[in-house]
């Protein structure tokens, strides 16, 4: 109690310093005057009386200091003093302060922005969802292969239920399969994104609908038996104008009225990194949302993407082991469908089926890059502080001479560093806040909808940034402190007039900082060069089909309630109408457009005369394409013919294989005319196509084949080869579609080039990011080098003058200074090259057709660095060469 009382009264004492001084003066004065009066009465002279009174009182100044100390909290008072002094120092050197704070703001701002992206996109990507730290993504594997985005398979509903039944370490199994529907019918179809989810979805995620209810367990079962939907807050607000009576109303989804049973809370966007979901439907409605393919009872029909939540205390390894054991049992029990199928858990940031998996390598590189920038910025500010500390050498020496403890000086320097980094951290947070929503702007939008990839500045990010700020503050404080603690009082005071100063220790420290900066920038430059070369390599890779003059879009007939019969009739009619337009060369429907999100079908195949090895994977991807597909896409045929309209339901089944498949299964013989078995049906091969890229530019050449869409599942993707631009083509397309059905509209119309570019977006963002930060780093390093060089020259002007007086030529001096600068650069480059050799390996999966040790990237980084270094050193060297020996020596 007493302690608290004392603390409080001292705390208040902090704010009453003026009154304290007045009172103290008056009280002590009163005391001394009484004492003097007493002494005078005792017979002393007035001088003597005062002296004795003072002596008996003790040193007035010391007593006052002791009194002040007792009056408040000395720690805070000293801190307050240091803060005020620090601010004064910063105000006195505005140029220095602004430069230092700017450097640091860039460093801390960039780091915080990347922290916030990692937090909001990778670590805790689902706002409003409880226990994300225990959530993992679950995907299927086939013959042990999974992991790379696009390579994972899905799970079937019967398998999923078996996992759910048999895994004891897992709290909740959540199905979450993204799907889309066409909502508004106008000039352009407006897509709404939604998910087919298990009935436990909302309960397991801890999300409570603000109106109505979530799903009930029974809604998992019964083919198309539960046309109910929960809509997002956004959709409720925008489409239904926040209608409080929305529950129970019907909304047409994929041609079937669904009853709205709930509205999700504001700020819940579903569980798909990259896109905000607008509605959710239960598993029982799967058929409606997969273009009429009923998969709920088929163990061999994988379609489920999802999540699991581990029980508290269960490690991912334990859960993985348990699930793999169940998967092995399923392999035994159902060899026909499950042989070779496994299951794999992924941390959320490696989720293979949403954008987390694609963004993870990019954000890791971004994190490394901003850490480099931060280090460079710190080194730069450290150098600036060294220069300033040198200017303050006199101040420090005097302070030490009059008795300041070295600890006290250190405290002050640390406080100054802290002020700098705190201001910079505050500015950096502002910068990061602005950059929070920058990520989607770098990535392409789809159909006018930008991705939802917000950075999240929560307490974890704040703690990290504060840590960065504190560490940098300590660094700044210590750099000048290292040298001020070495001050030798006598020599420092004597050498006050200047002359041969700047001990070698300081020069080494400054040089060291420059070497670090140069090496870090060099690493960034190499990284940027590698990515640039890789991007060039990707963009120079031919996809194997025409990207210019080919447009792609879709017409969703299932959503409009068409059955297969009507859909086929419509597609033929539309194809005819479009083909008769001027400027349109050819038109073809297909199930999958290359490089899209929709996955290819894949099936085990058999070929006469080809024996499959026991452990060989005999499944091959294929696409269902309409007549004229190869002509439209510009995929050349090596031999045979492509599909015709006559290849219909009643005609013999036909297929086209690609050249890789032909080489593998027919071994040099022509496949045309022979048979191919797909899913138990024999088809006649009618043509061989050139190999092309199917999912992305980086993929390897692989076997692939095409079947006639007419004889298989119908598709909705529409490809048009035309000289019209996307806008003109959209107008014509809308006109023609409306002529057939006024209620239909096409989806987003884009060129195939755009379609391809969307898959390289991540690489381009990485290049942009490394380019910007690499340039920034180079600039910072050049400024640092320039600073050191000019400083060295100004400090050595006497030496330079002497050299000149002794006969050194201008070019001698120029060379002397330049060689010092270039030596520092060379040191940095060597260090940087060594670091880059080991670091660029980590970029492996961002690089395409480029070795991480690509000599061109290293060479150009070296050239750029050398030019920057020359530019930074030249002005100081030029100044050195123009030293006036007379003036320099007289100084």
């Amino acid at each position: 109690m007493r302690a608290i009382r004392v603390f409080l009264s001292r705390l208040f004492g902090l704010f009453r310093t003026e009154r304290l001084e007045r009172d103290m003066d008056e009280e002590f004065d009163f005391h001394l005057q009484n004492e003097v009066a007493e002494n005078l009465r005792g017979g002393m002279s007035s001088d003597e009386a005062l002296a004795v009174a003072r002596r008996r009182f003790g040193g007035v100044a010391q007593v006052k200091e002791a009194y002040r100390e007792a009056h408040s909290l000395p720690f805070f008072q000293v801190l307050w003093q240091d803060l005020r002094f620090g601010f004064r120092m910063l105000r006195r050197n505005p140029g220095f302060s602004v430069l230092a704070i700017l450097c640091l703001t860039i460093g801390i701002g960039a780091t915080t922005a990347v922290f916030s992206w990692i937090e909001g996109v990778l670590l805790r990507p689902f706002p409003g969802v409880a226990h994300q730290e225990r959530m993992m993504a679950v995907a299927g594997t086939y013959r042990g292969v999974a992991g790379a985005p696009g390579d994972s398979t899905d799970l079937s509903w019967p398998d999923f239920q078996d996992f759910q039944k048999n895994c004891k370490l897992i709290d909740a199994f959540i199905v979450d399969r993204i799907t889309g529907v066409t909502l508004a019918i106008g000039d352009r179809a407006e897509r709404a994104r939604g998910s087919v989810v298990s009935a436990n979805y909302f309960d397991a995620l801890g999300v409570r609908p603000i109106l109505g209810r979530g799903f009930e367990p029974a809604e998992n079962f019964g083919r198309n038996a539960h046309p109910v939907t929960v809509i997002s807050y956004q959709m409720w607000k925008e489409r239904f104008h926040s209608d409080p009576a929305i529950i129970g109303r019907a909304q047409l989804l994929n041609g079937m009225p669904h009853t709205v049973i709930g509205v999700a809370p504001e700020g819940f966007y579903g569980t798909f990194v990259g896109w905000a979901m607008q509605f959710w439907v239960p598993v029982s409605m799967q058929e409606r949302f997969s273009a009429g393919e009923y998969k709920l009872e088929d163990r061999g029909a994988p379609w489920i993407e999802g999540f699991v939540r581990l029980k508290p205390g269960v490690t991912p390894q334990q859960a993985q082991a348990e699930m793999s054991a169940v998967a092995r049992r399923l392999e035994n029990d159902y060899p026909a469908t499950n042989r070779g199928r496994g299951v794999r858990l992924f941390p959320l940031w490696k989720t293979p089926f949403n954008n987390a998996g694609t963004l993870f390598p990019m954000l890791s590189v971004a994190l490394a890059v901003v850490c480099f920038v931060l280090l460079i910025a710190c080194a730069n500010v450290g150098n600036l502080l060294l220069v300033k500390a040198f200017g303050r050498r006199h101040e420090m020496t005097v302070r030490l001479a009059v008795g300041a403890g070295r600890g006290r000086l250190l405290k002050q320097l640390l406080t100054e560093g802290l002020i700098l980094s705190t201001i910079a951290a505050a500015c950096g947070l502002l910068v990061a806040n602005w950059c929070r929503n920058l990520l989607p702007l770098l990535l392409p939008s789809r159909g006018g909808v930008t991705m939802r990839l917000p950075g999240e500045i929560d307490w974890r990010v704040l703690v990290l940034s504060t840590g960065v700020c504190l560490i940098s503050a300590v660094f700044f404080g210590l750099v000048p402190a290292v040298q001020s603690s070495k001050i030798d009082l006598v020599s420092a005071l004597k050498a006050e007039s200047g002359g041969v100063v700047g001990g070698s220790r300081r020069a080494v420290l400054r040089g060291g900082l420059i070497v670090v900066q140069v090496s870090l920038s060099f690493v960034l430059l190499v990284g940027a060069g590698l990515l640039l070369k890789s991007l060039g390599a990707i963009q120079n890779t031919s996809p194997g089909f025409t990207t210019h003059g080919v447009l792609t879009t879709w017409v969703d007939l299932t959503a409009a309630g068409y059955d297969t019969e009507r859909a086929r009739y419509f597609q033929d009619a539309l194809t005819d109408r479009l083909q008769s337009l001027g400027g349109v060369q050819s038109v073809a429907f297909a199930r999958v457009t290359p490089f899209g999100y929709i996955g290819y079908s894949s099936a085990p195949i058999a070929v006469d005369g080809y024996v499959t090895a026991p452990d060989e994977d005999a499944t091959v991807d294929y696409n269902e394409v309409g007549p004229g597909y190869f002509a439209t896409m510009g995929i050349p045929l090596v031999e045979g013919r492509e599909f015709r309209r006559a290849d219909n339901e009643t005609a013999p089944l036909v297929a086209v294989v690609n050249e890789v498949m032909a080489a593998k299964y027919w071994r040099g013989r022509s496949p045309v005319g022979s048979r191919l078995q797909v899913k138990g049906r024999w088809m006649q091969v009618v043509g061989t196509a050139k190999v092309s890229k199917y999912r992305n530019l980086a993929e390897a050449r692989k076997p692939f084949f095409y079947v006639a869409m007419r004889q298989n599942v119908n598709g909705l993707s529409l490809n048009i080869r035309t000289s019209l631009g996307p806008d003109a083509a959209t107008k014509a397309l809308v006109r023609e579609i409306h002529a057939l059905d006024a209620n239909l509209a096409p989806g987003e119309v884009i060129t195939m080039q755009e379609q391809v570019d969307r898959t390289t977006a991540v690489q381009r963002v990485a290049v942009t990011m490394l380019g910007v930060f690499g340039g920034l780093a180079l600039l910072l390093a050049a400024i640092g080098l320039y600073g050191v060089m000019s400083y060295t020259v100004s400090q050595r002007s006497r030496e330079l003058g002497l050299r000149m007086a002794l006969g050194a030529s201008t070019s001698n001096l120029l060379g002397l200074v330049l060689s010092y600068g270039l030596a520092l650069t060379a040191g940095g480059v060597m260090l940087g090259a060594a670091a880059a050799l080991s670091l660029t390996r980590l970029m492996g999966n961002l690089l395409y057709n480029v070795s991480p040790r690509d000599p061109l990237a290293f060479g150009s980084a070296f050239v750029v660095m050398a030019i920057a270094a020359l530019a930074a050193c030249f002005l100081p060297a030029y100044r050195a060469a123009r030293t006036d020996p007379v003036r320099a020596l007289r100084q």
């Binding site: 009382r5 009172d23 009163f30 008996r56 007035v60 009194y67 009056h71």
Partner: protein, 115 residues
């Protein structure tokens, strides 16, 4: 600064101050200093100034209250008086002090005899 030493000093000095205020009633700093010197004679070489931080601490503990008033010679002066908590503390401290000096006294006597 050597804290331990000054604390001991402040401890006993505080006790003297409390005792002085208890017997004389409200006093200004100089009056307290004079009184302590009178009682201790020349035995205590005290810097009068040290009294003031000590008074401040006693006030922060709530054992002493201060008030500005007018002195005998008509000048503004700060007067200190003992509070009720201060009186309690004085009683406790005095008892404690007697006990300690009693024990110490007993310790020191026999050692003199044996020498």
């Amino acid at each position: 600064m050597d804290n331990q030493k000054s604390d001991v000093l402040h401890g006993s000095l505080g006790l003297m101050v409390l005792r002085t205020l208890d017997t004389l009633g409200p006093q200004h700093g100089w009056g307290i200093a004079r009184r302590i010197e009178q009682i201790s004679g020349d035995a205590l070489a005290l810097n009068q100034g040290t009294l003031y931080p000590s008074l401040l601490r006693l006030e922060q503990m709530g054992w002493v209250a201060s008030k500005w008033g007018t002195s005998d010679n008509n000048r503004r002066a700060k007067f200190y008086s003992i509070t009720r908590a201060g009186k309690k503390q004085l009683l406790a401290e005095a008892k404690n002090w007697e006990r300690i000096s009693d024990i110490l006294g007993r310790f020191l006597k026999p050692s003199k005899e044996s020498a």
